[in-house]
Subunit: 166 residues, 4 copies
């Protein structure tokens, strides 16, 4: 099994779960049921570097709340939300981009990521992922979700690809 | 006294306090007094599993702010809020469902849960519950309120009932 | 110098700073400058117990944002905010209530509490108060501001007065 | 290379990054994409002391969201946001004030602060800055961004200048 460093040169699409990866898996709820999530400002610089390397970035989330779209639009990355079947959603996205599952990574945190993690070329997990996810991940970050996990993953890829730090 | 593992097969209703169990016991207050609470995305998967097992879930809260209702509606679980008497509120709910107190668990955190904890078949507490609650709980989670405590309880029940992980 | 336990029987008014005592000293700011603060649900039970003991509770804050008023109204306690001179504000409040400074405690966290702490009968501090405040406090809680500090202080008084826990 | 204590007497402008310095580098996002940030109430007292010493304070941020302006207005400090080039933005600000880069400090946290940190008289970093920033900083605080980092820096300057604590 390849390490993330060895896989990096063939990476064409970096896919991510949203809650627990871009966020700390918390949700702030108002009296009317409006939702807010807590993200990290650090992630933007990481994603910009991946884009500069020509790597496609996409969020695949089961969550239906529009907060997912709101954050992805700010970061300028593609997203598919309200996905009961993450494998199908990612497959469809990749087909349109002409990228294979084998050229794709997925950074997840919870058991509803297990199916898609088993299909992509490189399964990865945030530091505070659930045990079942940690077990299948071939790379586990040192950052918790929402605390720089996306930035850390992107920076790792950038260094592996360019031999340079952000 | 039964362990939670031994009690699980007879569990028909899992009752929960709200603040400090579904939340980290914090409340965010706006200039106009609107309230927001911080919950965990992890809890939804746990509750879905209990429902699939046919176990009834209900929140019993003294808090009158509509944020309780907002969160419970998103999670699709029953709730009774603004309850000065949690024992009466839970009794009434269980009577309508045809479930006995003996077949019910309660996961709490603060001293206003003590009366109802003394009446249910299985009293449980989150990791950061107040000392008096920890003292009467027959199961104490490893997760703090709002940080996966509900998910952890549900997962424990599911494993005890099915012998399988989520 | 009396301990808090020895002082408790003569306590008639418990005064508190707001930010850093009822809150974790953070402020959440919106795009339009609206402010939100993070408080603890645990504090309400503590304040209710002090009221039941006939002890007057009041918040004295320099902050002018209406979020102070919003939280105090929910908790049902008196407050004076936008106070450049906390000693004057507390003195005026106590005069109207017929209570002396000597019968009053103050729970603070920052250097703008130093003057009033030097005047009250019992100066106290939260666990994460600034060093200069910790130095003059005759009681320092184990809880941080916004994480149960008010509840802890109230509970300490209640036990000292009644010999019973909440 | 001068220590911050040795540099303090010549300090005429204290410049700061915003996200990760005034905040904990998190951003709270609503369903409509509105952003909120988490700041510390402790910072206000520190900035007031610098102003009293006649030291000019300014925030230089790449972030375009108006939440930066909202917080700076509350604190009463100058700001330049939406700055792709922080060196240019700070230079222009200093020119108008008649202050040189050599008389200026910058407190930063992320790699987009590196260019400006290399130009000012005194580069500083918060405790949880990224490694590349920690490496060039000549002073690293003990406080994390959004948890009193600005207050700590200001207090350090005030003590160095006046020999007195806040």
């Amino acid at each position: 099994m390849k390490t993330l460093e060895a896989f990096a040169p063939s990476l064409r699409c970096a896919a991510f779960d949203f809650d627990g990866v871009f966020t700390d898996n918390s949700v702030y709820v108002s009296e009317t049921g409006e939702e807010f999530v807590r993200c990290s400002r650090a992630d933007g610089i990481g994603l910009a570097v991946l884009r500069a390397l020509g790597i496609c970035c996409v969020v695949i989330s089961t969550e239906k709340n529009p907060v997912v779209a709101a954050r992805c639009r700010k970061l300028g990355i593609e997203f598919r939300q309200n996905c009961d079947d993450k494998v199908a959603a990612l497959s469809e996205f990749l087909a349109a981009e002409g990228i294979s599952m084998a050229e794709t990574s997925f950074l997840g945190n919870d058991v509803n990521d297990l199916a898609v993690l088993s299909r992509v070329g490189f399964p990865a997990a945030v530091q505070d992922a659930f045990p079942a996810v940690l077990q299948v991940a071939r790379w586990v970050g040192q950052c918790r979700g929402g605390h720089g996990a996306v930035r850390e993953f992107c920076e790792f890829i950038a260094i592996a690809r360019q031999g340079t730090k952000l």
